[in-house]
Symmetry: D2
Subunit: 403 residues, 4 copies
């Protein structure tokens, strides 16, 4: 089976698709799900896929895998690297799909050992924070039933062979903003005729650093990243405007409000300092709510996973600065979520980098063009964890009456 | 004839082409030049066109018009605005072509009144500073003869009806640089795993302002513009690198050396401060030498122009911060150049803005997406000036012997 | 007795003295300690005072109050505001001295109820992080005996009536650095002859913001403050150098190393970018180790305090970003420390500001020129807490044999 | 006589005094002027001195020397270096005084060869731009007569043996501003409770660089220097405010207005971006009008100087970025001014540095702590130039009637 998983993974990895454009992936997933005996529905929440397998009465358990990729140019040099120029599974969603399909196969094969309904949810557009909401709004629960729990996992740059889960507030809230700053273009030789938006944007980037360094208490947590800054097309033309894309992570509503207020104040103040004659435009690209793991659900789920992979391989990583919209599946139906991290880095490599104090530097993190989880034991561990977790919530099948 | 000029101008304006891609323009120019009776050669210096008309013995006079456009999205709203999305004659080279063709028509018609050779040179890729060099290197003078003078003009945002010429050092030297700064990408939520190239680039832009503000004496002149800054594609990915495009104007070799040295020092210093693990790459996009108007040639040429348009309409604008590669035609053959500016702004609009002290703000300058010279009297003035100038250097035709 | 405490407090507050210059304070403390029957020694660790009271056999308990003030110009407008221009008890050490003297009075009066030795330590120069070390190095323990525990408290801008204590790592490590950046002076009108240290320092301050915003994981904690920046004396002279004073807070050796490394890299990189011809000088002004509260000692001490003031008035504030050298008394003798925070803000004012979300803005914090703890119930609470704590570690006096 | 001049110069140099505190200098000057036979008045314009010598009828000629020093700590290492800690004749006013006294001696001795009145004006507080105005406002002309011309000189870091004079606009206008930016202080470990004025000031300094780099045409001239930046006293206290001192040089009213407007806009915008709750305060420290040399007066004066020192040693340095209030003596009486620069650098040293391209780096300029004019031939040249100039405006004495 591991060969099947690896072949599937390599195929998915080689064919990444951007958010809400996961057409090939959706078709592939559907085909395979149907082959496994699942009732399959495509187009849920634009490009999402729902696959359902019932086995007698009992609870519905939602297993979620997100399946979109990122606008990153892959630089891993792997034989199965992306064939879609400029698009890459740099966040490992291909691992999630592979493991969920593997789990679906096991559960289908072991159908006589459990009772209830497995709801496999392949979600689009996680990177935009919009896919879970789109599926829920498309009638997910009305059409396919409400689960008792939402389970899922995310591959991360932690040692393969480990599963990490933080009960409670586990992932940050995200606010992604687009900021347009307006100057006035002119010939590069005549800055006096321009209001230079490149300088305006650069001053803004420098000042934005002070939000975290000066306005947030050191015991609070926040991240303000300018992920993209684009202005101008040519050396000899001062452009009319500059565009910044910001990604903001916070953990509490108070800190979120402080950060968003400071960002807006700085953007507007820097435009004033630059003499801009048009107000900057600040718009929301997407937002993620903070993601909260249900504490009881975690206890139950992790007990089952630990039973199989060994309790010593479970860790608590603390709250992550990452964001996830998996929580939307829970909050919208008021059901608990348990979502964990799956190790994807060769443990020896990890240990070495840790010892050298160069972990962050030497191990490509999610979203890096070099991000490359090892297939073994990541894929089988992911299948094992997800299957154990699902079985912890499905009911054991009633023993057949003895003849 | 003015209708012809305007129709020609509108056609050129509506079909701008980027540097070294001026195929339609070259074909159009060739066709018209041939119709006027000129021997015409295309493909000189890649896309340049040379048109030649001899009339007896006498000096060769080179009349030059550049004909490439810019990667600017036109926003003038004119009925004859660019039909090529993202490309615009924002520097007025379409005026230059129109006026040279108009002059060629007049000179062809008046062929019996002068003696010598008219060499009309339609130059590509002035915006890159490479077209004049390309034509010279393609054997311009060996193939078409060496002129006694190089004449040309540039439409500018000064009052239409005026001709402005600065003898001596008239246009700045330009150095256009591309700077790549290398960081290390990571997920936006984990800046600690990244070396953020957006911040590195922003700090560099701010520091580059000090080259002019602190390192150049106030009596010297220099401009350092960052015309383009591009880093990242998405809010939630810290990119691997940032790219800056710089445009630098200087007037003396000493100041040029100081500025280039300071720019390099700052770029490298900021990379060090950022902890970059790869040196920045600084490469030259293009350079223009300073352009020097021959003083004697200016006296002779301007006398002729003033005779026709009125001496009171001639002004000396001082040295411009603009750059021009027209000088290459002179220095490579060691012949004098006289190059002047042609007014293109409605004089009333200009006077009003001047009175309000808002000239730079209210009148779109060259390279602006709103740049729009008025056709009248700009086009006829341009023809008049260039024709008068040419006749000042051609010999008068010998009087026909009386029968 | 409250009147006595208040009179003492007001006298101390009106006569603040800088670190290692606490001569009047030391004399006043000595006089009062002797009046209470304590053996008193001045000049321990330059200006420190040790007062000792033994009562039979039993453990020695060290009670510590720091007594230096800050170079701050008081702006409270209080009738008992500082009479020493430019010096202020802006950190509340006058509260500590008052409460320790009050405790000493109670313990002296109740001498028959306990057995052991009270070692009251009045420490100089806490603000420099050097006073505790100076006293220890001056033979504190050899001369006056080694205690079984070190107890102390710090008044803070939390509600009066509460006592806050965080067992474990309670206060950050501090590194205070002086950075001298060297340029080259010149007349203000000739920046081209200078290497401007004002710009160099400003660029450095901006870049230093990125240490916390970009180089530290959001789950780690660090503060990098430039508390002082001084360059130049006059508008028309570009000075030769600039001086920055940095204050850095960290909680783990790894983060401390990262931050110190980044600060040095940035300072040196910015000097390179500026073209400085002399390397910056970075020197250490003072350092504080992180301060660790012994968990068992806290349980024992807080139980005793809670017994008297009410357990509901005890809180755990988490680790503070402040620093303290009280820990040196513990680590140098390998004995446990329990150090807590004493509320000093009117609880109604605090609640109001908390409700309005303006706590940090409206309530003057330690080191502010407006810092002004309320005397009631702060002073009596401080005496109560410290006395209860001391008695928890002294032995109860043996019951007198019945006749 | 050269020995006398050198002794005088060394004495003045060793005893520099700040603006409006030139008490010893004034007394010394008065004593010597009286010894030479001049009527002398002290206390004109606070600390100024006027010395008058009439010889028959004829025009009054004003010879001006400024005599204040600067708050600079001398680092020349000269045997006659400043004995007043922190004060230095770093602008060479001691040369001016020495040369004027030398000239006064020559004119007194040659009293029978000229007719008219010599008005020697020793002006205080030139560095503040207030001394000339103070003397005029104190009734200079009403009390001592109105001159036909104002003559004076300034020693500069140009080759000794040369005299440089630019007719017309010769010195820039100066505006010196004090900017106070208000934040909110707090403990260094709690930036979230502060509005950090150090960061606010640093961001402002960086943004101010863009006034010259982006808002002034390269053909215009302007200098914006932040000569002093002072905030905070201690590493662990975030201060309440920061103070900047700016020195601004411009040459035309239009550019001056643009620069002052941009500075104010930037200061206010940066305060907004910082979230300052109090508007910055911008106040004027002093201003100098631009100084205009009368063209005719220069022709007459320089002819006389050239006659004596050799016309080949006269140069035109162009307009200086320096400022001078000597012009106030001319404009307030509507009389012409001729003011020139006197070389003070060893010509060989100058030539060497010039050849190496390191003039600005290797030769200490005015206001540098290393500024040290060579005494020979500077002092005698200064006396010669000033005496020749004075005699060019005084009338020759009528020939004595023959007996």
């Amino acid at each position: 089976m591991i060969q099947d998983l690896e072949a599937l993974y390599q195929d998915l990895h080689a064919h990444p698709e951007l958010s809400f454009e996961e057409h090939r992936t959706a078709a592939e997933v559907s085909r395979r799900a149907r082959d496994l005996g699942y009732e399959t529905t495509e187009g849920v929440g634009r490009t999402g896929v729902v696959a359902r397998l019932a086995s007698g009465r009992g609870p519905t358990v939602l297993l979620r895998a997100d399946f979109d990729a990122l606008p990153v140019t892959e630089r891993t040099g792997l034989p199965y690297a992306s064939r879609n120029e400029g698009v890459m599974h740099a966040c490992g969603h291909d691992v999630h799909v592979t493991c969920l399909l593997g789990t679906m196969a096991l559960l289908a094969r072991a159908r006589d050992r459990w009772s209830g309904t497995v709801l496999a949810v392949f979600q689009p557009a996680e990177e935009l924070g919009r896919g879970a909401r789109a599926m829920v709004d498309d009638g997910l629960y009305a059409r396919f039933g409400t689960p008792v729990v939402v389970l899922g996992q995310h591959v991360m740059a932690i040692p393969a062979g480990t599963v990490a889960c933080h009960p409670g507030l586990a992932f940050a809230a995200t606010d992604a903003l687009k900021v347009r700053m307006f100057g006035r273009g002119a010939h590069a030789s005549m800055p006096e005729a321009a209001i230079d938006p490149v300088v305006m944007a650069a001053a803004t980037v420098m000042r934005l650093q002070t939000v975290v360094s000066r306005e947030i208490a050191s015991m609070d947590r926040a991240v303000v990243t300018v992920g993209a800054l684009r202005a101008g097309t040519k050396d000899n033309i001062i452009p009319d405007e500059a565009e910044l894309q910001l990604n903001i992570r916070t953990y509490t509503p108070e800190v979120r409000e402080t950060v968003l207020g400071a960002v807006e104040r700085i953007v507007r103040g820097e435009a004033v300092a630059a003499g801009a004659q048009q107000e900057p435009e600040i718009s929301t690209l997407h937002t993620f709510p903070p993601m909260v793991n249900d504490e009881d659900a975690c206890v139950r789920t992790l007990a089952a996973i630990g039973e199989v992979i060994g309790h010593e391989r479970l860790t608590d990583p603390g709250a992550s600065s990452g964001s996830e919209d998996v929580g939307v599946f829970g909050t919208s139906a008021n059901v608990p979520v348990c979502y964990w991290l799956l190790g994807g880095v060769d443990p020896d490599v990890h240990a070495e980098a840790e010892a050298a104090g160069t972990r962050n530097r030497d191990i490509p993190q999610n979203h890096s063009p070099f991000f490359a989880p090892v297939m073994r034991p990541t894929l089988t561990d992911g299948v094992t964890a997800l299957t154990s977790a699902a079985l912890a919530w499905l009911e054991p099948a009633p023993r057949p009456a003895s003849p």
